[in-house]
């Protein structure tokens, strides 16, 4: 994500403003979201309509205050509102795992959580792993061990692997395999993905 484009109006932000067409949506420009005082949501804002709320999200250590529709899933809000498109939507029914993110230290399907339930939770997405230009060991291990083939499931696989390593820094192969069992890989590259998780454990 390029966070420095907040000054102008990007194509994404422009479409968002035009498309959403509500008072709430108009304040969701990158400039406001990324500003240090983002918590100061304008108090003169119109009362959110039925089925909408303003929620405070903490994603990758950054605080966002944003109006969401109650029917929006966390995956949709991450991608469509916050521009964090590293989280993929595959099946959108809690089966494939492409949308996996870490919520309060546990990996979950972001397609199966409503964004409105996320107030006060710490959310970690694949964008939050690298420290500046330095990749997280698990990202590096996925590169070194050819974890991605087509790549669509990769961010989900990485987040499930990361969640495992957060709780269990030196897992057995069976534990790694089980930890990735909620993430489908259509390329069938499971052995390399498990290998990458085990290599990341050793790299720490």
């Amino acid at each position: 994500m390029d966070d420095k484009k907040g000054k102008g109006v990007s194509r994404r932000d422009f479409l968002k403003r035009v498309g959403a067409g509500s008072v709430g949506a108009a304040v969701i420009s990158k400039g406001l979201l990324d500003a240090p005082g983002a918590d100061a949501y304008p108090t003169e804002a119109v009362e959110p309509a039925k089925g909408r709320s303003i929620v405070s999200l903490k994603v990758n250590g950054k605080a966002y205050r944003i109006e969401v529709q109650h029917r929006q899933t966390l995956a949709e809000v991450l991608r469509d509102e916050l521009g964090l498109t590293g989280t993929r939507i595959g099946c959108d029914r809690g089966e494939c795992g492409a949308c996996t993110v870490i919520i309060d230290g546990r990996n979950m399907y972001s397609c199966s959580q409503l964004a409105v339930w996320m107030s006060g939770k710490e959310i970690l997405t694949v964008e939050g792993l690298a420290k500046g230009d330095k990749l997280d060991p698990i990202q590096q291990a996925f590169i070194d061990h050819d974890g991605p083939q087509c790549g669509f499931c990769t961010s989900g696989q990485i987040m499930s692997g990361k969640a495992l390593l957060l709780r269990n820094p030196s897992p057995s192969e069976a534990q790694a395999r089980r930890a990735l069992s909620g993430n489908l890989c259509r390329c069938g590259n499971y052995n390399r993905e498990v290998e990458a998780v085990l290599a990341a454990a050793k790299a720490r």
Binding site: R71, T73, R93, G94, N107, S112, Q113, L114, S181, G182
Partner: protein
């Protein structure tokens, strides 16, 4: 998903009151715990509630407490927390395993114990918005003439769904109780009585009324000399419902069975306890022949449909294996 309003509640009382109010106003409201299962029904518009009552914001409903009498498990305890609980692993390993057999890691991290017991069926006709089946207020159960490879072989009719829970057979085998809060106050009943067959109500899987919520599961301490097992057969090694599962608890003493529970999952619209097999085992020393006979008795009366005859042998073998392992 259709537009709806999410309401975060702060107490069980508030939740019940709100549900009562919605029911009185004839509004379509639903209760959500982990949400993993119910959101999928909403996405395919099988469920189209106007209001969602979010129970996760109720403090103090997520706990596992252990005392001399056994375990008390709060409704919002996740499947992962139940699986990982040291006391449960030590005293009731097979309950921990049953929790760990459910769904996938991501769902076990979000899904709750109460939610697992209150899942709607995973019948493909029920989950299809284009099939207005018996369970959704329609006229027929499409599985009867359709593809019924995963449907009920026992206890079915007029609807042939199977109960999808992994925890339910294990908890019924443990004589667990369930605590329900509703407009008339709280009540605690045997979990076995929580589930209803389609003959009683073809549209619901349990006795919960529109303003009732599950608050706690109580599991008695295991009796001396008892062993429990949960065996699950499925098509994939991961993230799959049971085609057939079996939970057994056998209490032995002086070389013979004192008491037994045999409960089948994946074969009937409710967790299917077979008292006749339990009765047969009482006083016997379990060997291969006795286990085989008990398995035959457990499946006595099964009436499979055209695509699910295979479930009978599968169920018999699982029962036999679990019983043989118990001695």
């Amino acid at each position: 998903m259709k537009t709806f309003e999410n309401v975060d509640v702060k107490s069980v009382k508030e939740a019940v009151g709100l549900l009562q109010k919605f029911a009185g106003e004839k509004k379509n409201a639903a209760v959500v715990g982990g949400g993993s299962e119910y959101l999928q029904l909403m996405k395919v518009r099988v469920a189209t509630p106007d209001y969602i009552v979010n129970l996760k914001t109720i403090p103090g409903l997520n706990y596992i407490k252990e005392d001399a009498g056994g375990f008390r498990i709060g409704a919002l305890t996740t499947l992962a927390e139940l699986e990982e609980h040291k006391g449960v692993q030590e005293k009731l390993l097979f309950l921990s395993q049953a929790a760990g057999e459910a769904a996938s890691p991501q769902i076990r991290n979000a899904g709750t114990v109460a939610g697992n017991l209150c899942q709607r069926p995973f019948c493909w006709y029920f989950r299809s918005a284009s099939h207005v089946c018996l369970r959704k207020g329609g006229e027929i159960c499409y599985s009867v003439a359709g593809d019924n490879r995963y449907h009920a072989i026992i206890g079915g009719g007029p609807s042939y769904i199977v109960h999808p829970s992994d925890l339910a057979p294990a908890l019924v085998a443990l004589d667990a109780k369930i605590k329900i809060a509703g407009p008339a106050g709280e009540k605690t009943i045997p979990l076995e009585k929580f589930f209803v067959t389609p003959q009683v109500n073809a549209r619901r899987e349990n006795i919960l009324g529109p303003a009732d919520i599950v608050t706690e599961i109580q599991v008695p301490a295991p009796k001396t000399g008892s062993k429990g097992f949960y065996y699950k057969a499925r098509e994939r090694q991961a993230w799959d419902h049971a085609i057939v599962s079996v939970a057994t608890v056998v209490q032995s003493g002086s070389g013979a069975v004192r008491d037994a529970r045999v409960v089948l999952g994946g074969v009937a619209p409710i967790p299917w306890r077979v008292p006749k097999a339990e009765e047969f085992l009482r006083g016997k020393a379990i060997d291969d022949a006795a286990a085989q006979k008990a398995a035959e008795i457990a499946l006595d009366g099964a009436r499979p449909m055209k695509d699910n005859v295979y479930k009978i042998d599968l169920a018999k073998n699982l029962v036999r294996q679990a019983l043989v392992a118990s001695v």
